[in-house]
Amino acid sequence: MTLSPELISGIGQIVAVCAFFLGCLLLSGVLTWVERKQSAVMQDRIGANRAKIFGLRMFGLFHIIADAVKMLAKENFIPKNADKLLYQLAPIVSLFFALIAFSAIPFGDTLVLGDIRIPLQGLNLNIGLLYIFAMLSLGVYGVILGGFSSQSNYSFLGGLRAISQLISYEITIGASIVGLVMVYGTLNINELVYVQGEYLWGWVPKWGIVVQPAAFFIFLTAAIAENKRIPFDLPEGESEIVGYFLEYSGMRFGLFFLTDFLELILIACLLATLFFGGWQVPGLFADGFHWFNGAVLHLPALLITLIRVLAMITKILFFCWFLMVIRWTLPRFRYDQLMHLGWTILFPLSIANILITGIVLLFIK
């Protein structure tokens, strides 16, 4: 019995995508450790390092396990008046939509080995970009459900804050991407990455940050707001203005927590894919490295794919680090400042960006 190339490609794709998902889930767990340690190092501290197994401390890495055990062992409390079904559904909805958004992220070029073609992407949609933003928007329902179904005034207020913030910034996110779509002329994320492999004037990579720098900053700001992290953490505000997940405990709270980190990774993926060329490495083409003087260093296809996947992973990790730096540097906005920033600054800026992009494109063509 021989396996057809299609079958092998299919199995290969499933394995690769599973590895990618598993990697993202693991990374979201590790990010809880990174968050603690990075903030500690930034503030001249050591950070959590007391959890140990057999006298081993491993720089506090066991705190991830300790956290998980704690979350699972805690009481899963449901308020008496809460809507039982919706209350239990909310964290799952949040997590689900955050997770399936990952399926449209290409984490490498199609791997070609003779007849076998393994696309390193879960779902090659020609509206992939819209798909991801749709899933991000649907994730908001988890927050809304969580805030409204627990029948607590504080959760309700937190939910209200969350909704108005998320919906305001969603518009900005959508508008900031339009400029990019106009330049690249596609909504297919895979193609978006391919086009970013082109070069302006022969040497500047045509990455999103080069052709749409303003959109990058607008998207970054709005994305952090979507992620509900400091400086935009008004929906949560764990320490003082309790948020929409006030009534949640145990692993249900843990799911909300995990969703936050998954969304952080998703935003890192999006920043890397949309503005920093995805898996593209400057100078690396399908047949090897091209130097400035035209010399070509030929490399096998497998190695090139490996380098590109590694480049993507590096970019994702860099942006995770970068978003953490922002989170541990900036103070929180006041709510009116938040709305002011969203509606009167970022939104008009993103519209202006679309206009200017349109005019420039008109003159170039």
Binding site: V41, M42, D44, I46, F217, V325, T329
Partner: protein
């Protein structure tokens, strides 16, 4: 109603567009990040005098204390081991927390009038002001044991009798290990 007018600093254009200031802040925090990471790494490969953090990992690592820090009390002794204290009650009188309890008795030495029969300090009430040390005319009480981890599982555990005050070295680690102090 009284109104307070808060004077706000007028921001210039660069500050108002926010981004340069954000980058300035992030430059500071990332500088700390990279500097500390480098120090941690250098320390790991042998440069022990470099510290990437200001943390003292407390139970294992004590913060160096000044000699003058007011720590747990002790009663000083004469050459024969009896307390120097003459039970003059100065410290008991001056103590703002009223946590010193002295019972006097006659001293067998004819040159000295009195000595304490019992001398107790309730460290649960003590505010570590050091007045007792300053009031003492005999240099009989001092706060220089450098013992700061004073804790107990009960109020009685914080009650120190004369023997414990005369021999702090014998009872230095007693408190943390024993849930109930033997009476």
């Amino acid at each position: 109603m009284a109104t307070i007018n808060v004077k706000r600093k007028k921001l210039n254009f660069l500050e108002r567009i926010y981004l340069p200031e954000v980058f300035r802040g992030m430059a500071i925090t990332s500088w700390h990040f990279f500097k500390n990471i480098a120090f941690h790494l250098l320390r790991a490969i042998g440069f022990k005098h470099l510290r990437g953090a200001v943390t003292y990992q407390y139970p294992e690592e004590q913060r160096p204390m000044s000699k003058r820090t007011r720590t747990r009390h002790r009663l000083t002794q004469r050459e024969d081991g009896s307390p120097r204290c003459v039970a003059c009650m100065m410290c008991e009188t001056v103590c703002p927390a009223r946590c010193i309890y002295i019972v006097a008795k006659e001293n067998p030495d004819p040159n000295i009038e009195k000595m304490p029969a019992s001398f107790d300090i309730d460290l649960g009430k003590c505010v570590y002001c050091g007045f007792c040390v300053e009031a003492c005319p005999e240099d009989a009480i001092r706060m220089d044991t450098q013992i700061v981890d004073i804790a107990a599982y009960s109020r009685e555990g914080m009650y120190y009798t004369m023997d414990e005050l005369l021999h702090p070295e014998k009872h230095g680690d007693k408190i943390l290990s024993d849930p109930k102090k033997p009476k």
